[in-house]
Symmetry: C2
């Protein structure tokens, strides 16, 4: 299978596939006599899984770590497992955050309700008060925010860690 076909089947672009290979997310593909990449269908399984990791917000550098472990053979399985377990926890808390936010959205939308159904606009206070009387929720906690920059053990992210 050539790169174009793989692109079609995987939903990635050929550009992206080459990029993934360059950075090591995909193994270096074998070439045919024309020096073109020649893929085995099994790569699709791996790409599919990468897609899952990506969809769940795993940064590329972590996928890379996993890919490296995988390349390291069976001895690395415990590490791989731990990596995935940690990620699973992250995803679970992500889901929890989203569900939390969904409640807030529901409340907000309910505050706007009827503006169309009934004919009257101006449901008085729905503008600035933001019906977020739903729950206090400590400020500085809407942080289900993966992607910390500059890796170091710097501040957890808020404010003047300088």
């Amino acid at each position: 299978m050539k790169i174009g076909e793989l692109a079609r089947q995987s939903g990635l672009t050929a550009h992206t596939i080459r990029y993934y290979e360059r950075i090591g997310l995909l193994p270096r593909a074998g070439r045919d006599r024309q020096r073109q990449r020649d893929y085995d269908a099994s790569i699709l399984t791996w790409i599919e899984f990468l897609g899952r990791l990506k969809a769940t917000g795993m940064p590329i550098r972590d996928m890379l770590r996993y890919a490296e472990l995988r390349a390291g053979g069976p001895a690395t399985e415990p590490d791989r497992r731990r990596l995935l377990e940690r990620h699973r926890e992250a995803v679970r808390s992500q889901v929890a955050t989203l569900q939390d936010c969904l409640l807030v959205l529901d409340g907000k939308i309910a505050g706007y309700a009827g503006n169309e159904i009934a004919g009257y606009a101006g449901n008085e206070r729905t503008d600035d008060h933001d019906s977020s009387d739903i729950e206090p929720i400590h400020p500085r906690e809407h942080d289900a925010d993966r992607r910390r920059h500059r890796s170091g053990p710097a501040g957890p992210r808020p404010a003047r860690a300088r």
Copy 2:
């Protein structure tokens, strides 16, 4: 309340607060006689809500749209409502995708299970096959991928839209 205090209370940095004001996400703050921003505590409610939108993956340009509508007064409530309803759908499908991925992760982790508990490594085929025999799942569908670049009505994102 000055910007530093707001930063502390909101969890944003002062830099970010100014940035948000610059782009219009936050209303231009009133200044004291020293020309320094002076905030009312009510801004925290708005920042908190923005945090929710952000946590659920809404791009800034959409938050901006919402902020503009809000500034447009009660007449825009139906629009605001539609905007939030659309976003809520996006979030719901995001949650569904994540839960889907969680199942895959569970399966994968189960495939690695015991490598530590029992003493034997090398649970044979857990390496390249990737126990994603969990379910076929059409490739090209791991796309719970908000953030489309270059806005236009271009291709839905995959492959050579050129």
